[in-house]
Amino acid sequence: MELSSRFPLITSDDTLIGMKALENSSDDELLRLMRTGDERAFVLLYRRCHAGIYRFVLQMCGSPALAEDITQDVFLVLIRGTESFDAARGSLNAFLYGVARNQMLYRLRRERFYVPLEIEQSLEESANAKPLDELTRTEMVDAVRRAVLSLPERYREVVVLCDLEELSYVESAQILGCAVGTVRSRLHRARALLLEKLQPQKKENAAAEVKTARCFA
């Protein structure tokens, strides 16, 4: 019944039994079955992978509608087989993340003239109001979200993958198509940028202290 409520197109008892039998199958096996037209395999695969991809895209672009579109496109690619998945090169999850990343970067570059200004303004207002350690939880989460969204793409994606999706450096490197050391260095730099964005007041105060010191010197 739970499956029927989540997946209204899957209703019969036989289908439910079949889905339970398939739940222990690997991603590759489910993909093979899905390509033969097995809906149960597709539903299970979707259940396993869609949430992470959706969150990844949502945290990268900040738009739920765009994240849904891209998530749908990612699974359309899987259904239509327009991009071949090679199990030897990585997991299916990493492949789907990679497809989502490519789709998202394409869309963001196409729509880059319309996105960031409002976010930057709101972020600065929010961050200027209170330092990180004084923010309430909701405000802190909102500030962090905006700070993440304001990062350059190359830093944003490592923060999203490593810190928000909690993927390992190796998995992130597979998705991004770069070396593990690159992921580590980008993450380090990204966190430094986040701290800068979340503590502008402190930075200004530090700068004022330095200025004052210089004046007196």
């Binding site: 809906e39 969150r55 739920p64 849904e68 259904i79 962090v144 810190d163 701290l195």
Partner: protein, 305 residues
């Protein structure tokens, strides 16, 4: 550990990434000694907490159900789009046409194979008991045939002789008979006269020509029935002529493995070798032994009475 080394590990330390115990202890010891690094670690931990809070909140974000329904409908459409190709009537018609063509081809091939059995395989598969006994002119068996290995050529000739009457005119032995008698020019004066120098025609080729003959021959047609068997020494009751060479036969060409095949020929064939022929018994058949070389070519012939 100095501040530079601490900076290299502070992110992993704040993210609770597994580190070597010695590195971790050294970093924490450095934090106790260095206020800047301790503050740096605190900031990183706060940032990690903020990111974890964001991640926790984002876990509640779900894709609209419409997305999965759209995807399932696409999957179904794709599956349905693939099915009509299998159920396409055009394919069905093509399949039926192909099946008919294959059946016709198989029928033709089977008919041809039945009419022209492969010589080699027949020789190996035909049991020796199928070999009919050699009969004299009255039809009584003269001697028992031993189940010796048969010459493939002779077996084919036997089958031809059973199934294919020759409807050619008298005197056209060279196209009617399965033995290379045909290739031998008629001997006009005597049996001792050597035949004209001519290469013996392969008997197989003549048999292929015989296959074209039909069994519904007219009353005037002459049957050439070839009775096959490995002939041993002729019995005393038979009167035989000398072996008359065919073509450029010489004793050196008759190698081991040569066999003698008994055939029946129209009596007028004797005239071609210069033997006297009773014209009143012109249409009767006469037996002859054909000496086949190891290569299957007829080397000599003798007539039997």
């Amino acid at each position: 550990m100095n501040c530079q080394s601490f900076e290299n590990v502070v992110v992993d330390l704040a993210r609770l990434t597994p580190l070597e115990a010695s590195v971790r202890d050294a970093a924490l010891a450095h934090c106790e000694a260095c206020d800047n690094c301790a503050r740096r670690l605190t900031e990183e931990k706060l940032l990690t907490g903020g990111l974890m809070a964001l991640a926790t909140e984002m876990k509640a974000a779900v894709v609209a159900e419409q997305v999965q329904q759209n995807l399932l409908s696409v999957l179904r459409k794709q599956r349905l789009a693939a099915q009509p190709e299998r159920a396409n009537p055009g394919w069905r018609y093509l399949a039926v046409a192909a099946a008919i063509l294959v059946a016709v081809a198989l029928g033709i091939a089977g008919y041809k194979m039945r009419q022209t059995p492969p010589v080699d395989s027949q020789a190996g598969s035909l049991p020796a008991t199928e070999t009919p006994p050699i009969k004299d002119s009255a039809g009584a068996p003269t001697r028992k045939q031993e189940p010796t290995p048969m010459v493939a050529l002779g077996i084919a000739g036997y089958q031809m002789g059973q199934a294919a009457p020759v409807d050619s005119q008298a005197g056209s032995v060279e196209t009617d008979t399965p033995v290379p008698v045909a290739s031998t020019p008629p001997v006009e004066d005597s049996a001792e006269t050597p035949p004209r120098e001519q290469k013996p025609t392969p008997v197989v080729a003549k048999k292929q020509r015989l296959r074209k003959f039909r069994p519904d021959a007219s009353a005037h047609s002459t049957f050439v029935s070839v009775v096959v068997g490995t002939v041993t020494d002729p019995e005393a009751s038979e009167v035989v002529s000398h072996f008359m060479p065919l073509g450029d036969t010489n004793p050196a060409n008759i190698q081991e493995g040569a066999q003698v095949v008994r055939v029946e020929l129209p009596r007028y064939a004797m005239a071609r070798f210069g033997l006297p022929v009773n014209m009143e018994r012109y249409d009767e058949r006469v037996k002859a032994d054909v000496w086949l070389g190891a290569d299957g070519l007829a080397r000599a012939i003798r007539f039997v009475q």
